[in-house]
């Protein structure tokens, strides 16, 4: 008994007991002491942050100027710079080039037409890897044409084609600057943390105020959302270029600029391409959200049909986004893995077979399209629609399985969600701040403790404590379930290679789906509420738990396993005594990713009627209240940052204990 009660166990048990007691009896406590502040943060202590932020934005837009130009001019200039290439791509892909306005408009050249675009992507697929990839991306784009999504898809493609280069190049330059100047890096890191944890909804409003409703605002939001991983990957991959290669560059007499552009960047290109892939996927992830501030395209179709509760159309447009995501993801991954090849010899045509073929097809299509309109625009008569099928399927499921779903929902709600909710909601804010500080201090030292306590205090002082607790409860339950499902799946995938290929392949696909897509079937089956939100979050956040578990187990050194086998471990002992303990740091990293994804998804589930911080952010968006949105968004970000630091500190401690 005495040995079992280590100081660590006393600390954790004590902390939990106190929290539980306070949570259970906070109401009685408030009655007994007649101190209402115990359960509710007093209004008069609240920080007036919301108004100051809104006021600041107003000032920025109305009066701010930098001697030569006003802030307004600046945003207009940015908008113009974005608008021009975007419009060009729209003309190229959809509308064609015209001169003049209205009735006097004269078409100079038609748009590329679907045949030309499909041939283009096939060429890109083959260039990036092989015919299999070419067939895949070709089929994906063909799908868009056949299923009548072409027009919307091309609008989406145009904005992705603008956002990705800006995000990638911008990220590259920021990363290079941070690599070169340590002070800039120190400045940048917290900004990146915030950019990656503040929910997108929160900065939609300020962007809306600065840039107005429309594709440009959507592009700005997309770039802000998609850039941070590129910056991080750039910094990381520049640092991981072997020291010797850099020294070789210096000994060859490179100037600083030559070192960067002739040595470091080319050597790091494969990892940089991983960053570009990230930017593409995040840009697609933003498609639906960005359509809230005027992006149009597939995202708008999904959103509109969700609002109309038009299940079929929603799924159709959602699938189109998925198909496009898969095509772009696979193609860009192939580029990342693509190795240099020797150029074939010969004349211009022979050296660039694909460029010339594509050019020929485009020209032929341009000419033939005049006479055969079906080549230019995919004929409506030949489109297929799956909308009614999905609607019917959903209806059939709902008619036949309603009771089953309802029963599951009630059991989980009563047995898990509500008790946990009651526990978290009951914690008095003051103790919540102290407890978070104590947990962080115990795991990560006093600096982390102070930081965590301050961040929680910020949430309380903004009057968002109750909503934050709902966020934490929903996130906690979802992460728990995702981990309980995900880690065994990961173990299975690691132990059985055949199953692993299927499971990890499935997880890859899950990760390419834009977060919004998860909402559609969930809402259809379970309607709105905490339970639906939880299901959507679990689905979205499952992938990292599985992946990291599988990787962690596979990365256990062969020698350790052999040592285990030779010591006479059974398979079960091998797993529990050798592999899992060694994989804990990886498992914790997976947990960290799961939490981050859960929090980002949670904000989106505000659309299905949760009452957490996400809802606060979403309300701010509908009311265009920038201050409210940013404060709530920062609160979400702080929760995410505290969780991230705690789990990272745990993983770090574990790594040190294992001597890895």
């Amino acid at each position: 008994m005495g040995r079992w009660l280590t100081s660590g166990r006393v600390f954790w048990l004590g902390l939990f007991a106190v929290t539980w007691l306070l949570s259970q009896y906070s109401f009685q406590l408030y009655k007994a002491l007649d101190a209402r502040w115990i359960i509710r943060y007093p209004k008069k202590w609240q920080l007036p942050l919301e108004d100051s932020i809104s006021g600041f934005l107003d000032w920025l837009v109305e009066t701010a100027n930098f001697y030569f130009f006003t802030f307004r001019d600046l945003t207009r200039a940015i908008a113009a710079v974005l608008e021009a290439p975007y419009q060009f791509l729209r003309n190229l892909l959809i509308e064609g080039f015209t001169t003049g306005y209205g009735d006097s408009a004269v078409q100079l050249a038609p748009s590329l037409g679907w045949v030309a675009v499909v041939v283009c992507v096939i060429a890109i697929g083959h260039y990036a890897r092989n015919w299999a990839l070419a067939a895949l991306v070709g089929a994906c784009f063909l799908y868009l044409a056949v299923f009548g999504q072409w027009h919307s898809a091309m609008i989406t493609l145009a904005s992705v084609l603008i956002a990705v280069p800006i995000g990638a190049v911008g990220g590259l330059f920021l990363g290079i600057a941070a690599y070169r100047a340590p002070w800039f890096n120190r400045l940048l890191q917290p900004v990146l943390d915030l950019m990656q944890t503040v929910p997108v909804f929160a900065y939609l409003v300020p962007i809306l105020i600065l840039f107005g409703f429309g594709p440009v605002a959507a592009l700005v939001a997309t770039v802000i959302y998609a850039m941070p991983p590129m910056v991080r990957i750039t910094i990381l991959s520049l640092h991981s270029v072997p020291e010797e290669i850099q020294e070789a560059g210096r000994m060859a007499g490179c100037t600083k600029r030559q070192i960067m552009w002739k040595v470091l960047v080319p050597s790091a290109t494969p990892s940089l391409m991983v960053g570009v892939n990230q930017v593409i996927m995040l840009s697609l992830n933003m498609v639906i959200i960005a359509s809230m501030i005027g992006a149009g395209g597939l995202g708008f179709d999904v959103l509109a049909s969700l609002r109309r509760l038009d299940i079929g159309a929603g799924i159709e447009a959602g699938l189109a986004i998925v198909v496009m995501a898969i095509a772009l993801d696979r193609a860009s991954q192939a580029f990342a893995e693509r190795s240099q090849r020797n150029l074939p010899e010969g004349n211009l045509l022979q050296r660039h077979p694909w460029s010339s073929t594509v050019l020929l097809v485009i020209l032929a299509n341009l000419v033939l399209g005049r006479f055969v309109p079906a080549l230019q625009t995919y004929p409506d008569a030949m489109t297929l629609t799956t909308g009614p099928f999905w609607s019917d399927a959903m209806e059939w499921i709902n008619v036949n399985f309603f009771d089953t779903f309802e029963a599951i929902k009630v059991v989980v709600l009563q047995g898990l969600l509500l008790p946990v909710k009651k526990f978290f909601s009951g914690i008095p804010w003051a103790w919540g701040i102290i407890a978070t500080g104590l947990i962080s201090w115990r795991i990560g030292g006093w600096k982390l403790g102070v930081m965590a306590a301050l961040m929680m205090a910020f949430i309380a002082a903004s009057g968002l404590w109750a909503k934050a607790m709902i966020t934490i409860y929903l996130c906690g339950v979802s992460v728990l379930i995702a981990t309980v499902i995900g880690i065994p799946l990961g173990i299975w995938a690691a132990e059985k290679p055949a199953a692993g290929r299927v499971i990890l392949g499935f997880m890859d696909t899950l990760q390419t789906l834009p977060s919004f897509v998860y909402l559609i079937p969930v809402v259809m089956l379970f309607r709105v509420g905490d339970f639906s939100a939880m299901i959507a979050v679990v689905l979205y956040a499952l992938a990292p738990a599985v992946r990291y578990a599988a990787h962690g187990l596979r990365d256990v050194p062969e020698q350790m396993i052999e040592a285990g086998v030779m010591s006479g471990c059974t398979k079960r002992q091998l797993l529990w005594r050798v592999k899992l303990p060694l994989a804990t740091p990886q498992l914790l990293l997976g947990l960290n990713q799961t939490i981050m994804l859960a929090i980002s998804m949670l904000v989106i589930t505000a659309l299905v009627g949760t009452r957490d911080l996400g809802q606060e952010v979403y309300i701010a968006l509908t009311k265009a209240n920038a201050g409210q949105g940013i404060v709530a968004g920062l609160s979400v970000a702080f929760i995410a940052i505290v969780a991230d630091r705690i789990v990272n500190a745990l993983a770090e401690g574990q790594r040190r204990r294992l001597g890895l």
Binding site: E247, C254, T255
Partner: protein, 337 residues
């Protein structure tokens, strides 16, 4: 010997840790203990080396002995904490970045342990890289690169990428690249350590062949004593950042300056190092079986002397300086001496 000094380092220090420079200013000749107390690591301590034109100078030591740091101080890839480095009579540490780039572009070449080839360039482009950054026109630099690629025996593989080559071939590219600018001073940082023993041997032969053609001044780093004695004109042995002894291989074996050097050289095959001159004794009779050159190692003459009936003359510059007997050779061969 009358040779001119091309590179000389005087009292060079490289300390890692907080406030290394101020510490060194306040404590001019710190002992190892002083450094530890100040929280500093002495990667290079009070290094004094002279390198003569045309020699192969080997810096040798175990990993962590500071040999890599010292060579990086000599090429100023690493900024020394204190000391002077004179290259062709001028202090390298006073050079501006611009001047340094010029020196590296025309007078220095370096080969790296892990090859450090640029993965996105072909063999030919890698070899041409130092010329590329100088802005040499494409045709000209590729022609020169072709020459060095052929020199290292990679003709026919110009269009390959580094990952398509074996380790030995990759290092040949590394050597070609370092020779492209015809450097006066050639640094080789453990160039063969990452290679398999058989390939290493082959590359050492290749290196000797190249040096016999090119006669460069070479600073060669290795942790392999056999490699050192095989290639070196002179060897500097390093331990814990300090140079223990600088001497010819034979001297190192016969007169080690410290216990550490003695320990290091104990297991060396002496027949490979000791020359006839070292065993020469005054002439004692009239009958001789033949003559051996004074600088021949016992390994090369052992068989002949041992099989013959009478001692051999040891000859230097056409003059007999003594005799070498059968028993002296056997002493060396069986390790008595």
């Amino acid at each position: 010997m009358n040779q001119s000094v091309i590179l000389e380092c005087r009292d060079v220090w490289k300390l890692y840790g907080p406030n290394a420079e101020t510490f060194l200013k306040n404590t001019p000749a710190p002992k190892k203990g002083d450094l530890g107390r100040a929280g500093l690591i002495g990667a290079v301590r009070a290094a004094n080396v002279q390198i003569f034109k045309g020699e192969i100078f080997v810096i040798m030591g175990l990993s962590g002995s500071g040999k890599s740091t010292l060579v990086r101080c000599l090429s100023r890839l690493v900024e020394p904490t204190a000391g002077e480095i004179h290259f062709e009579g001028e202090n390298l540490l006073n050079k501006t970045d611009k001047e340094l780039i010029q020196i590296r572009r025309s007078k220095m070449g370096m080969v790296f342990q892990q090859f450090a080839l640029l993965p996105h360039l072909t063999v030919l482009e890698n070899a041409a890289f130092p010329l590329d950054v100088q802005g040499v026109p494409k045709a000209e630099r590729l022609a020169r690169a072709q020459e060095v690629v052929e020199l290292v025996g990679l003709k026919g593989r110009e269009g390959y990428y580094p990952r398509e080559l074996s380790g030995g071939q990759q290092q040949r590219v590394g050597i070609a690249r370092s020779l492209a600018v015809e450097p006066d001073l050639w640094f080789l940082d453990e160039p063969f350590s990452a290679l398999d023993p058989l390939i290493r041997r082959e590359m050492q032969d290749e290196f000797i062949r190249l040096q016999n053609m090119l006669h460069k001044t070479i600073i060669f780093i290795t942790h392999d004593f056999d490699e050192a004695i095989r290639l070196a004109d002179r060897i500097a042995v390093m331990k814990d950042g300090a140079i223990q002894q600088v001497a010819k291989p034979e001297e190192l074996v016969l007169n080690p300056a410290t216990d550490y050097v003695a320990e290091f050289t104990r297991h060396v095959n002496r027949a490979k190092v000791i020359t006839a001159a070292a065993l020469a004794e005054p002439l004692s009779g009239d009958s001789f079986s033949g003559t051996v050159p004074a600088n021949a190692t016992i390994e090369t003459i052992g068989d002949r002397v041992e099989a013959a009936e009478h001692p051999f003359h040891v000859e230097q510059d056409g003059e007999v300086i003594g005799q070498i007997t059968r028993s002296a050779v056997i002493d060396v061969l069986v390790g008595r001496r």
